[in-house]
Amino acid sequence: MIDESVRWLDDRLGIAKGGRTLLDKIFPDHWSFMLGEIALYSFVVLIATGVFLSLYFVPSAHEVVYHGSYLPLRGQRVSEAYSSTVGLSFDVKSGLLIRQTHHWAADVFLGSIAVHMARIFFTGAFRKPRELNWIVGVTMLMLGIVNGFLGYSLPDDLVSGTGIRIAYSIIESVPLVGSYLGFFLFGGNYPGNGVIIPRFYILHVLILPVIIGGLIAVHLGLLVKQKHTQFPGKGKTEDNVVGTPMFPTFIAKTTGFMFMTSAVLLLLGGLAQINPIWQFGQYEPYQISYAVQPDWYMGWLDGALRIMPSWEWVGWGHTLPLEVFLPAVVFPGLTFGFFWGWPHIEKRFTKDLATHNLLDRPRDRPKRTAFGAAMLMFYFMLFAASSTDVMANFFDVSLNVVLWTFRVIVFVIPIITYFVTYQICNEMRAAEGIGKRKRAMVVSRSDTGAYSTVTAEPRPGDDAHELDAIPVPTYINLTPEELETGPGVRRVMR
């Protein structure tokens, strides 16, 4: 049966030659290689739940009277987008679970991309020959943030509508063409002529997912072509990859991981309420709720807008709203330009043009590690600054104190982080045997009262590291008795 299928396909596509290489593709065993898989499987969950949602969501600003089962809204005039979102939450079976899982999956998708990217950065996996894949990944991060914002905007509730209003004003702040861009995108002066939700919808469900899906294919295709990086270790060189084969071991582990990722997202979606739009109410441009906060991945931009001084520039008959344009247009532009260019920028400093397949331990590149930690801290400080009002309330201090504190620490803490991280890296490099898994020591007391210490038995897998790596074998000889000795045959009896 399998034999016939393979032969049928091989006669038409020649799969046998390359197929065997693919089955034998080696995946290095390190937990940090799993972070990208979280992003991949979150994307799978996003597509699956998103298709379900698209069957019920109506992307329209058309006003209707709500007649669904949520009593407090009955009889109110709301948009079809809002009404259908409340409807698919309460009147479609499993709808609320799927909708909240979709929202959680988006948050986890971007979170896992960010952590995955940090792993690539700190281990130097972006170096030659993998600069292209770094650029593809950064592009997916950017598109993911944009698509997250678009999806968050679709239900037309009070919180997301305020977000769209802010986005409009940001577009308006662009010199020369800002008001034209805003009018073209929204079909008129804010809030436009009702086209923004259908436009966001087609971008959110078709255009951006197709681009992201295509980039995922490129990302994984490059990964197969260039093969994985690996940490240095016994038998691991620049010219090989040591680990477990695609089939069957990696397939089993990653399939299980896909199920577990989906399970966690479903548990979050069903047990942790997210974006209860029926509490916020329909968006009206003259209404606002108290706690206006975007999803987490927009926090750094919101924080930058909050702590920016009010530096509007007026002159020669024109206004340049620098208090918006700098933090919300120039700053993200610089951020992603810098991310895209990072492999090239680092080469400027290291003058390292060689091909690298072995990863760096972060401590062995103290400057890069310290710089990366400082950058992470900078963006984290901006993220924290997006809750100035909450902090002022929580710590019972004035907003002014919180604001000025952030204006200072957003620069000071990253600088401190740089030097502290640099010092930690250097001290770790100086320490003996650091980074190696330590065997436990077992202390026992004899009946005469003497103490003795022995090294514990190796943990499962420890002894595997002491074996020499072999190519993935076939299993033609199924029993040791049938095994014939000859070239390419390893026979080890226990």
């Binding site: 679970l97 308006e172 008001s179 009018f183 090989n240 089993a252 790596a469």
Partner: protein
């Protein structure tokens, strides 16, 4: 294809005995590992069945999440345990062959591109030029429907609102605002009659003091606007000059308007100048008066409302 496969030396496929240490399972006690995987998968199956039952019986969101979550978690854990503990532990190795080509191959393809292309384009400069111009023309005209059809030009729309001389102040329901509608400390969102709910016209009406027609007007610390208030009422555009959020929070004790989006604070008694936060300009003030007991606008706004934009003088 057949040439390639005959030239390529066929390396003998590596064969290993099943008792080779590389083929041993990762777990030291495979029986126990299998037992764990079996239990996990049974829990997974039960969880999935539980979801099915929950769906038909109650459609209760939390129980659906728990049953399906436990179901997938059990199956996932079982398969992962199978892969991680019961399959060959290796380590296995794969050679990494350099995929870049030889210098000659690189030179050959570069030459092929430049020489073939050079000959073709060099001999037919006219065709090359025309095609370049044509592509450019297509690119430019394709942008017309793609961009220009999207919406109208801004024109004067960002400069004007629907507030006119003697526009009547109405609530969002369209009800005219009477001079006794607000007590001291009260606020109300108002619109010009006929435009209730309109975004650029949203205006916040505040009553600071209870003054009679003969009393001296509210003393706002903004020159030239002493007669813009009426009976202790004052009206400002509700659209924040930072990013256009409604300035919806009124702090009565300090007489300040607060924007909840980015915490800009406007001093109502000083002509709504921003005292704090990123907002760059005061909220524009709407001059109001009392006519037949109802509040009306003396005139429209004397400047564009809302956030800054390039054409704003």
């Amino acid at each position: 294809m057949s040439d390639e496969s005959t030239v390529k030396p066929t390396a003998p496929l590596p064969v290993a005995a099943l008792d080779d240490p590389h083929q041993l399972p990762y777990a030291r006690h495979p029986g126990r590992a299998q037992a764990v995987a079996v239990v996990a998968m049974i829990i997974g199956i039960l969880g999935c069945i539980g979801f099915g039952i929950t769906y038909w019986v109650s459609d209760q969101t939390q129980w659906e999440a728990v049953t399906l979550g436990v179901g997938l978690l059990g199956l996932g854990f079982g398969v992962t345990a199978w892969g991680k503990y019961l399959m060959a532990q290796g380590p296995f190795v794969e050679e990494r062959h350099p995929f870049n080509s030889s210098d000659e191959e690189v030179k050959e393809i570069t030459a092929a591109i430049t020489q073939r292309g050079g000959i073709v384009v060099g001999r037919r400069k006219l065709l090359g030029g025309l095609f370049a111009i044509g592509s450019l023309a297509f690119g430019v005209v394709a942008a017309f429907p793609l961009i220009r059809s999207l919406g109208p030009k801004p024109g004067r729309m960002l400069f004007v609102t629907n507030w006119r001389r003697n526009s009547q102040l109405v609530t969002v329901d369209g009800r005219p605002v009477h001079k006794n509608d607000l007590e001291v400390g009260g606020v109300l969102t108002v619109f010009p009659r006929g435009f209730a709910g309109s975004s650029p016209d949203q205006t916040i009406l505040l009553r600071i003091e209870e003054l009679g027609p003969e009393d001296p007007p509210l003393s706002l610390a903004s020159p030239g606007r002493s007669d813009w208030t009426a009976l202790g009422y004052v009206a400002y555009s509700k659209m924040c000059t930072h990013l256009g959020c409604p300035v919806g929070l009124y702090q009565e004790q300090t007489v300040e308007l607060v924007c909840p989006c980015h915490q800009s604070i406007f001093n109502v008694l000083a002509g709504a100048v921003p005292e704090f936060g990123p907002a760059p300009r005061p909220l524009p003030q709407l001059p109001i008066k009392v006519q037949n007991g109802f509040l009306v606008a003396q005139d429209g706004y004397n400047q564009p409302i809302g956030p800054g934009f390039w054409e704003r003088p």
